[in-house]
Structures are given as C-alpha cells and as structure tokens.
C-alpha cells in the first residue's frame, strides 16, 4: 500500500438532491440569465413570452461577459429573488 496526496481541489463529492419541481409556474418568479453570447436575448425573449403566458413573473439578468463566471453578487441576487432560473447559452 502506498499513500499519495490528493492533487484536487477536494470539493465535496457527496450527492446533491435536485430542488423539488414546482407543480405549476403560476405566480412563480423565474429568472432568465443571459450569459451575453450573441443572440442569447432572442432565445430568452421567446422563453419569457412562454413563461408569462403560463402565469410566471419573469426577471431578466445578464452576465457581464460569457467568458467569465457570473459575479457572486449576481448569483446571490438570482438565488434570493427567484424561485427558478433558466440560463441561456447561445450563439
């Protein structure tokens, strides 16, 4: 037996449960996150229309640039003000 040192970031690997699925979109606040790739807004405009038709409130967000992770403040704002979020990856 030999011992080596873990070269990884040692993030926890335990299983994480998915959030419970909402029974209905009516009255929920759904965040739409545009990662700022070209034409992502076209896709999200359409999604917003469908969500609004189903009774959801929609809040729009955008990352400053698609090449970098979303700023922590933005993630916090989405997490605290929305019931669900849809992220658009587009080109």
């Amino acid at each position: 037996m030999s011992i080596v040192l873990d070269p990884t970031g040692e993030l926890r690997t335990e299983h994480r449960e998915l959030a419970p699925r909402p029974g209905s979109l009516s009255g929920l606040t759904v965040g739409l996150l545009d990662i700022s790739k070209p034409r992502g807004n076209v896709f999200l405009d359409r999604i917003e229309q469908h969500l609004t038709d189903r009774g959801a409130n929609v809040k729009r967000f955008a990352k400053p640039t698609f090449t970098k992770p979303a700023p922590v403040d933005l993630r916090h704002e989405i997490a605290t003000s929305c019931d669900a979020v849809i992220e658009a990856l587009a080109d």
């Binding site: 080596v4 040192l5 990884t8 993030l11 090449t67 992770p69």
Partner: protein, 488 residues
C-alpha cells in the same frame, strides 16, 4: 565550529545540557573516539546519543538511544561524531569528526586520549542516509502538508491509479507521495499553506502545497516550482482569465515564456528544438500549470474545457527566451521588468506554426514577408481582436542585428505592413462569406490591437525560420498577456 543558524527552536526536542555527542557504532571514527567519550562522560559533563547500537560506546546511563532518529533529524546532524555544546536544551555550537586540538579546545580538557591519531574525518549521520532520509522527513515534517491522504490498495498499480482517479492529462503522472511533495516544497521559500490563487473554473483556493503536488505529477524538479507558482498566479489573474481560455471553443492555451536568470539556472532550453521535446524543464513546467487547472480548478476537456479541436501544446508549453545571444532587450524588459529579474509571461495562444524565409537578406524584405504570414493569423479576413507571439529564430534575428534594427524599429516597420484595407476582405468580397463587417467599408485597420505583437528570440543557430502563434480574443472579455515576477 559553526553557527547553528536554525529557526524554530521550539519545535526541536530538548537535549541534555552540557556536552552532547552524536555517534553510531557503524562509524569507525566513532569507535575510535569511544575512549574519549568515556573519559568525558566519566567527568559527568557529556551525554552520548547513539543512532544505532543502544549500548555503544557502553551500556551506561550517559548513553541515550536515538531509536527513531528524532533527535538526530531535528537537530540536523549530518556527520558523526558531532559534538555539541547544549544550553537550555538547545545546541549553541558544534564540531564534527575527530580533531584532537579542536576537541580539547571545545571541551576544555587537555590531553584527550593521547594514543589516538590527531585527526580522523567523521561518517555520514544515519539520519541523512539516502535510504531513510525521505521517510524521516515525512515522519517529522509531513504534518506541514494538509492535503487529503489517498491510500492506494496493495494490488493497485500506482501509475494506473493516477489515471483511474482522473488526475492525469493522458500521459503518465508521477505519484505524488508525501516524500516527493516534501522535496518539491523545498524548491520554494513560500509556506505550504499560502494561497497562490483562486483557480477557475471551480474557483478553488489553491495553496503552494497543491501546486507542489501537481508539479510532482508533471515531472518537475523542485527548482522549477517557483516558475510554476508564478505561472499559476498569472493564469488565474483577472486579466489573463484562464476560465475563458479554458472554456472557449477555440484551440488555445497558456503559452509560458520564461525570462531572466532562472531560465539558465534550472536548465531550460532556449536553443535547438526549443518548442519541442527533450528538455525536462521546458516539458514539465507548462504541464504542471495545466495539471493545476485540471485537478485543483476542475477544468477538464468535455467539462468546462469546450475546445473544438484543442492543440497538442495544451498538454503544456513553456520555453525561455535566448537572451544571451539576442541583440535586443528581452520580452520581459519590453514589458517593464529588469534584466536581472526572473519572470514568466503567459500568452493566450494556439500551438506554434512555422514561418519560412530562406531568401531575404535585408531586414526590409524579411519584415514585409513576416507581415504577410501574420496577416493569415486566425484568418486573413479577420483582424484586431487577436494578439500574436513571434519566436524569432537566431538566423532571422541576425538580419536585424546586422542592420542595426532594435525591437522598436522592428515593431514599427512590421506594424506598417500589417494595415488592412478592409474593402479587400469585407464579408462577401471574392465570393467568401466570412470577413470584416460591412461597417468597416472604406476603412484601413491594423491586423493586431496596439501592443498586440509580442516578440521573443529563441531557437537554434541553424535555420532561416521563425515561429508564429496566434492569440485568443484580447481585452476585458478575453485574455490579456500577463507577466509575473518569479520569486524564490
């Protein structure tokens, strides 16, 4: 006698006050001086610490057996016999081997064992025996390392185990045992728990220790570690933006250029086959950075790394500038550093491709031709967003040396030839749909952004070639070339 000059006295086990002699029975000089030790012990002022035989020089209360070599290791005994003077549990001075005059002066006892020869050198301390010194280092200082210990099973091949756990880039990695990582950590003065950077994409705080582990795996020697540490810092800066470089579908990765004295000190190759295989430092430093991104940051192909093709240089690409035979200021000097500083510059680039000019004899001809080649970076019909790195070969550099051109003259002339009349490459022109956007109709623009051409001198002295690397999207939405000083 020498000054001990060791810090952390508190962590070293106390020794009995007075004279202390470290010996081993296996050392002929120790056996020779046994009568001296008995004479000193008889006067009640000397303790003998035996590294091997607990009853050497004799079975007596003044003989202490250093069974686990803890005393020898912590007090950094390198030679036996070593005679120390101990005050308040800690040595204040010491002598090594047997030399009658020095022992008499040290002990204040005259006429020590007159039948002995006047001088005999000592032997190596058991605590520095190469077969066990690594184990001792792990036993007594392994606790400085806090990473999770992973036990490999008896029947596991340790090289296969590295692969099975997802820690390899596809090539074999050196298993990062505690002993190897401790040796690697000796390559820097920075403490193991110091945070070097927050590594994307998982945004994990990466310590010196984690970098050392991955440097071991990449095949680095300890003296390369400061370069790797500086490269990790540079890669994870907001300007360089390793997250974007990793995530992009374009085939780019960090290209490392090492400048300053360290390149020669650690044996990097700036000459023949500089961008190829065969030199350990060149081959492993860039790889260590990429393993940090993979293992600590969690950036893996097919995960956040979405490169459509990638390129072979993404395994790791590092090389030094040939400063010694360059007539120009170095890349690092052109970026504001001094020649006596060691630096690493990270360029977000593709793999190298060749530029051939075996005919030009004037710098004007060579420069104009090089500009034509550079216009094809990424696409001859695209411009501005991408920087470039040029590796000028020594035979091409000779054209500029002979004509008295310096770096600035070269860049001015080159930039003059890199102006694009947009109408010639607008979208749709020549039946090609890709091209510059219509809003640039009638305009003339530079191929590269301002300060977007980086030049390094490297390669062997035979061959009328240079090398070109295209860059990735520059500016705040992409990646900007970053230079960091390498600190010991």
């Amino acid at each position: 006698m020498r000054d001990m000059g060791i810090s952390d006295n508190d962590e070293r086990p106390a020794l009995p006050d007075g004279l202390v002699a470290f010996v081993k029975q296996d050392c002929p000089t120790c056996v020779l001086v046994a009568p001296v030790l008995q004479q000193l012990a008889g006067s009640g002022t000397c303790t003998v610490i035996s590294q091997d035989d607990p009853s050497f020089p004799e079975d007596a209360a003044w003989v202490v057996h250093d069974a686990d070599l803890s005393l020898s290791w912590h007090h950094q005994v390198e030679t036996v016999p070593t005679l120390m003077r101990v005050v308040n549990g800690q040595p204040t001075e010491q002598i090594e081997g047997w030399e009658r005059q020095r022992w008499e002066a040290f002990t204040g006892v005259s006429n020590l064992a007159p039948e002995l020869p006047d001088f005999r050198p000592g032997c190596g301390s058991l605590s520095v025996d190469p077969t066990i010194s690594d184990q001792l280092a792990v036993r007594f200082s392994g606790s400085v390392m806090t990473s999770r210990r992973v036990e490999l099973a008896q029947l596991e091949d340790e090289w296969e185990a590295m692969w099975d756990r997802g820690w390899s880039d596809g090539l074999p990695v050196v298993p990062p045992t505690e002993a190897r990582v401790l040796q690697m950590l000796a390559g820097t003065s920075r403490p193991p728990d110091e945070v070097v950077a927050v590594v994307a994409p998982d945004l994990v705080e990466c310590t010196v220790e984690k970098v050392a582990i991955n440097a071991v795996m990449a095949g680095c020697r300890p003296e390369y570690l400061p370069v790797v540490l500086a490269a990790v810092e540079a890669a994870c800066s907001d300007e360089f933006n390793i997250h974007g470089l990793l995530a992009t579908t374009m085939p780019v990765g960090p290209v490392l250029v090492v400048n300053g004295p360290i390149a020669k000190q650690i044996g990097m190759n700036a000459g023949v086959n500089v961008l190829g295989q065969g030199n350990r430092a060149n081959s492993t430093i860039g790889r260590a950075l990429q393993l940090v991104i993979r293992n600590v940051g969690g950036g893996r192909p097919g995960g956040v790394d979405r490169a459509t093709h990638g390129n072979p240089a993404k395994v790791g690409l590092a090389f030094p500038e040939d400063e010694a035979s360059s007539p120009w200021t170095s890349l690092a000097e052109s970026r504001g550093f001094r020649a006596d500083q060691s630096t690493v510059t990270l360029f977000p680039g593709e793999g190298p491709r060749m530029f051939v000019d075996q005919i030009s004899r004037s710098p004007e001809s060579l420069t104009k031709h090089l500009a034509q080649a550079l216009l094809s970076n990424v696409s001859p019909r695209l411009a501005v967003q991408f920087e470039t790195l040029i590796v000028l070969g020594p035979e091409h550099m000779a054209r500029y040396r002979d004509a008295g051109w310096d770096r600035n003259r070269f860049l001015d002339e080159l930039t003059g030839h890199l102006q694009i009349e947009c109408d010639t490459v607008l979208r749709g022109v020549d039946g090609i749909e890709e091209g510059l956007p219509p809003l640039l109709a009638g305009a003339t623009i530079g191929k590269f952004p301002p300060d977007g051409i980086h030049v390094v001198h490297a390669g062997s002295d035979a061959g009328l070639f240079s090398m070109i690397m295209a860059g990735w999207v520059t500016g705040s939405i992409g990646s900007v070339t970053v230079t960091k000083e390498i600190v010991p």
